[in-house]
């Protein structure tokens, strides 16, 4: 199962399933970790997203865009489906009167520079799905604004604006939390 790539960034002209995983698994895993609430959820999302991409590798058409844009659209769709499944599973778990214990939250930090990574991550995960996706693509997966836009169907300018708004909402959340 191979696909010829047009991207000059790829030193090889052909992308196999193994090559796709080798190149993109680290950034997909980091994206998944920023998007989800638990480590098992992150595992599931990363695996599901990469498996979808590997299974669809034959359908990639270089004339329709870069492999990165193609891959991240698949990843974003997987994340969206995962979010819907998660909502349904959580609803059922609540009905079954069972949920995993919540971790206690620290209130010791008051300024951003001293904010613990755990707390920043916790606040990030409380953002709405769209904002989380934007920030996880931009800062978790390390995409630039044009690539973020291609992944979620926005122009580079609109993606940049959306990311700034998401950052502003995260800032507000952090400020409220510090009060």
């Amino acid at each position: 199962m191979e696909v010829v790539l047009s991207s000059s960034e790829l030193d090889s002209g052909v992308l196999t399933a193994e090559e796709l995983c080798r190149r993109y698994a680290p950034s997909v895993c980091r994206f998944a970790a920023m998007m989800t609430r638990t480590s098992p959820d992150a595992d599931d999302l990363a695996q599901d997203a990469l498996l979808r991409a590997v299974r669809a590798i034959g359908s990639y058409d270089p004339t329709r865009g870069t492999p990165e844009a193609w891959l991240w659209r698949i990843v974003v769709n997987a994340a969206r489906d995962s979010a819907h499944r998660g909502e349904r599973a959580r609803a059922l778990l609540e009905r079954l009167a069972f949920n995993s214990p919540r971790e206690s939250e620290s209130v010791e930090t008051t300024v951003l520079a001293n904010l613990r990574d755990d707390d920043l991550h916790a606040q990030l995960r409380l953002l709405r799905y769209r904002d989380r996706t934007l920030l996880a693509l931009r800062y978790g997966a390390g995409l630039d604004t044009a690539e973020v836009g291609a992944a979620i169907g926005l122009s580079p300018e609109s993606a940049g604006t959306a990311i700034r708004r998401a950052l502003a909402r995260l800032r507000s959340r952090l400020e409220v939390r510090q009060q």
């Binding site: 680290p26 098992p40 990363a46 990469l50 059922l92 778990l93 709405r128 769209r130």
Partner: protein, 331 residues
Amino acid sequence: MTLDLLEQRLADLTIATPDPGRITARVLSRSSMPRRLRFARVAAVVAATAIIALGVLYFVPAADAALADAPIAGGLLRDAGLVGAGDRVTAVGAVSTSFGYRLELVGAYADSSRTVLLLHSEPAIWLTSFDPELKDQFGRSYRMGSATGNALTGNLVLEFEPMAWPDAITGARITLHITSVAPVTCVGSSTVNPVCTNHRPVGGSWTLPATVGVDEGAALALPAPARLGPATYRFTSARATAATIAFDIEVVGLKANDLDRRIANGEKGIAVFTIDLLSPTGDIVDGSYTLSDNEQGVEVHFLGYRFTPGDYHVHISYLGSGELDQVLHVP
């Protein structure tokens, strides 16, 4: 472009991420197991079918699949959304014990949308740390879509992708294999908010075989395409089984992000797009849907749990554009 402090913190955020090597190994090991039959393998499957026709009973297990003569506990059926299909759930009763944990595959149900396994564990376990493997008689693996558990009763419901052809005709001889479980204990009861704790995973080997018939259900008449605001909604498939209604709608003129949008209201926000399935009595049917962008627009896949025949209404609303009501007649 320089990053401000918050952006830099996000870019440098130290978080526990899945191990790319482990994820890669799992993806590559599963990528050769197609979710759907691939055209290139038709010849191989035809050959297998010919062998079946020659009488290899092992591969034609439908005759062995016994529907549940003894009733399966209502709680399990309710947890699985199978109350309306109790008589289509196969009673299994397979038991496997390892390292003091007894798992029973109580029942199994398969239709064109999903494969559902009903388990009971003693003592109670949770699923966060194991990756159940489900295979059919052809050695094909099926991916688990969701899992829910009741730590108070030890009941578990695992939902997998639907059985591939020709299992729908022959029935499926399936095997669930589990290699690790996470014990869970609770303090309290179902009436007093219980506090449940996951414990360290326990390794072992639990193998639970079953023979299950596949309820293919019936195709439903598709409503005509309709326009709502900026988009056209076109049903591309609709099927009903004894337990479920599944339908797909192609939305042309919008993207998935448009449908996922919420209008801020200081709380959770108001969903711009809603889709509900209403039963013949007017109640909202429990269900879920997924959205995927494609070349034309958005694919909406809805799976609802039905209990009675009659006219089911698909109610779609898009904020600022109005509402749409389409009818699916379920015999």
